[in-house]
Amino acid sequence: MTNSRREFMKTSAMLSVAAFAEGPRCMSNVLAKSGDDIEWVKSVCRFCGTGCGVILGVRDRRLVALRGDPKHPTTKGLVCAKSLFLPKIVHAEDRLQHPMIRKNGELQRASWEEAMSLVAEKFATAIQKHGKDSVAYYGSGQAMSEESYLANRLFKGGIGTNNVEGNPRLCMASAVGGYVTTFGKDEPMGCYDDIEHAKVFFLVGSNTAECHPTIFDQILSRKQKNHDVLVIVLDPRYQPVGSIADIYMQPKPGMDLAVFHAIAQVIVKEGLCDMEFIDKNVQFKIVENGKPEQVDFATYEKFLGDHFTPEQAELITGVPAQDIREAARLIARGPTMSLWTMGLNQRTRGVWANNLMHNMHLITGQIGKPGATPFSLTGQPNACGGVRDTGSLCHILPYGRSVKKAKHREEMEKLWGSEPGTIPAKPGLHTIEMFRALGRDEIQAMLVLTTNPGHSLPNCGEHRDAMGKPRPNKPFVCVIDAYPTRTTELADVVLPAAMWSEKSGVFGMSERRYQYHPQVCDAPGEARSDFDVLLDFAKRLEDAGVVPKGYVSSKFKTTDDVWDEMREASKNTAYDFYGMTRARLKKERGVRWPAPTTDHPGTARRFVKGDDPCLDAGPYADRSLAEGDVKFYAAPDHRAIVWLRPLEGPAEPADEEYPFSLSTGRVLEHWHTGTMTMRAPELRAAYPEPFVEIHTADARELGIRSGMPVRIQSRRGEAVIKARVVDMPQRGTVFVPFCWEDDAGFINRVTIDAYDPGSKQPEYKICAVQLSLA
């Protein structure tokens, strides 16, 4: 459609007259139509942990467009569809705008004053009547770092309870357990730059193409440009990463530990180990009678040879021995970058699986070099920086400290201005046990912030009852969220929250990069940031006498104030980011910690002399090292541990009664419980309803065809979902994404809440189910 010159002149004249007649308002509309008045602001995406740099298009304090930031050092302009639709999500019509209090079973509009008074009173009463451990906080990897830090500080150092948890327990805890038990400290040592150097990518339990699309695109781009770049995939389900895989291994669910050991066995047997690296940096351990015992390399070799040859692994897992051999040789050749997510973490032996992943890198020396690293991908924008790093879980304190260590408690009490002995030495309740305690009415008041446990918890029916089932002495639950969710419907008080672009703060993503996101628009109605709510809440608890007077209110007015204390808390730890001032973060496109001084550029690879500043100064400094040397300074004796872990399967394998194994996950267009992505019409239309993937042969036996409703039943609950008959899951397994909130398709009523004894992370990925036509 093109206008003639005559039509153009006519239109211009009419617009000019209209603009003159109507004054500036009309003029601004004319400008708006031109697209020139959009102001662009650098920020960071608020979906997964990739941390894509974005630029936000803002007009009249509204978000009108979003684009990838081409100047971002790691994502370079890449951004996925979820992110592109964020403007529609932020300005969705059903945003929560007013506080609500449940009265006579119904949520009714209330003032902030009324709602906050009630919340403070309920918490104060619970503490005074039932003790400090009768209250709990359940936070999120989507809150800003300052918010998580403040909540953690308030509950542990103010109230004096370690009942502080967050949804990263559901997604990252096993990765944390793996890093800590192998290297002594949490968080990856590598970075996204390694993608540009790796020649072998080992993707394990990660639907990278859909869940971390821009990471996948970088791998894809590297593979397209370099024909010696190879991709190995280990996943029970065949998924889109298969489109670039050179070797695709599909083990039986929960049996991949045998594949890892078998790969190590080939590496050891064929002499592909880096013995010099092992001699300098590695030790071997096995757990005997509940205690870790040191063993030597020969014992490790025998352990592998006795139990985990490729042929033995093939019998256990179904993965062809030849594939295991080829994968082992490629991994040893490297440079190898391993990437994994929930397939490895959401398991009752998730920590062990993480350990065995690290084993392969340690015995081959594929670590601390460009392109060679074991790298855990994160599912939320701030699970790393906000929850893991700030110590906002029940057993840890900020920046690598533990509640069990007296020195660490003293350090934080001193910094926070808490009375000595305020922080309990005993870890609080972890997520699953916290919600079970809520169900037993042992926890009397809970604050849920920026997360949706009424949809996301496994065995959700039981935990929904804990939160919302009416009963005498029912605990009080306050939920802060931006949208109505399956959790707000259970709450006693709902507080409307400002979203990411409506507040300013810091997100920390998978590669240790902390990035600042500014406020660019106003929250709707009366919605307030979680930070504002926490400050208000803290002040009221101070007034009620359950938190020391001035503990929070005299110290913080803005998130900048909190950030400065966080920098102080990180000083002289392995996380040291003292050099990341607020002004610096606003200007730069994120900085990777450690960055101890304002002129330090940030650290690409930890534990590497010449790169990691912790090896140059501070408690971990070592001047005897040469440039490029690796030193695992946080590990016992400064040596990372290769663990000899036994084979152990899932908590609930398929059996005669429940013959299928269920796995859950996501799709490209939706994120987690769909609270946000379902609000963009295009994304919702992409997947308006859930589906269950069933293997063709299984479907034929059961008389199921694509589109038919299928009842999926476990020992805990059931869901009715339309079938998608496709050869992506292997025989005997089914896959369901968990992003839909309607009752029929609510798959987390079916999943199991058995958890890893080390990381306490639940086993979403495997439980036994029956299938039948509904």
Binding site: I38, G57, A81, W112, M116, D560, E682, A686
Partner: protein, 216 residues
């Protein structure tokens, strides 16, 4: 002008009536009860907590130069429900048609996008919507016949290393990996025996300014 004057009077009257004044510095002393920017009553403590940059607009430190977005182009186009779209996953699946114009597919025009984005898989940005109809678009005006030029070779990994005719026929004769099968009718035998690249031009990269041969 008249409207602006009335608005100014109303604004001053509002500020005077709620007693808070038109402060932009929220850290200044606040009365016991005050109102937020949209006039709702909020606690005094709450107003004292806001970031200084929240009321003063966006911090200049985070402002950057951005692309010029035409109205109506804020979001990437969605994919209609066609067989090809349903099965497409990799970049190459899409470019096979949208780069070459095969099957009258609208040819892509990604002006001004960073090359890393145009090299990514298309579904990273474009959402497939089941059931959505194929859009009726007028073909781009061209002085040439649509069949006048041989289709181009997409810039995908499977094509980069192909040189010999057999390299191409391995897939395009057998249909391996869903490659479109070659049908060359009424062509001189000599042409059918030479290497395919004699006629078919490889797209080296999906350049931002690249446009189809039909539009040139």
């Amino acid at each position: 002008m008249k409207r602006s004057g009335i608005a100014l009077v109303l604004l001053l009257a509002f500020c005077a009536s709620n007693g808070s004044g038109c402060r932009t510095d929220s850290r200044a002393e606040a009365p016991l009860e005050t109102r937020d920017r949209i006039g709702h009553v909020v606690a005094a403590e709450a107003t004292t907590t806001q970031d200084p940059d929240r009321l003063d607009g966006v911090d200049p430190a985070v402002k950057v130069a951005g692309p010029r977005i035409r109205p109506g182009h804020e979001y990437p186009p969605t994919l209609s429900d066609t067989k090809w779209h349903r099965d497409a996953w990799s970049h190459n699946d899409c470019l096979r048609c949208h780069e070459t114009g095969v099957g009258d597919a609208p040819q892509l025009e990604h002006v001004g996008l960073p090359s890393i984005l145009t090299e990514a898989k298309c579904r990273t940005c474009h959402v497939f919507i089941p059931g959505s109809p194929k859009s009726e678009r007028e073909p781009a005006p061209s002085p040439f016949e649509p069949w006048a030029f041989p289709p181009m070779i997409p810039a995908s990994s499977s094509h980069v290393a192909t040189w010999q005719r057999d390299d191409c026929l391995m897939c395009h004769e057998s249909g391996l990996r869903d490659a479109p099968r070659v049908v060359h009718r009424n062509m001189p035998r000599l042409l059918l025996e030479v290497k395919c690249r004699t006629c078919h031009v490889q797209v080296r990269a999906v350049e931002a300014t690249w446009r189809s041969h039909r539009q040139r």
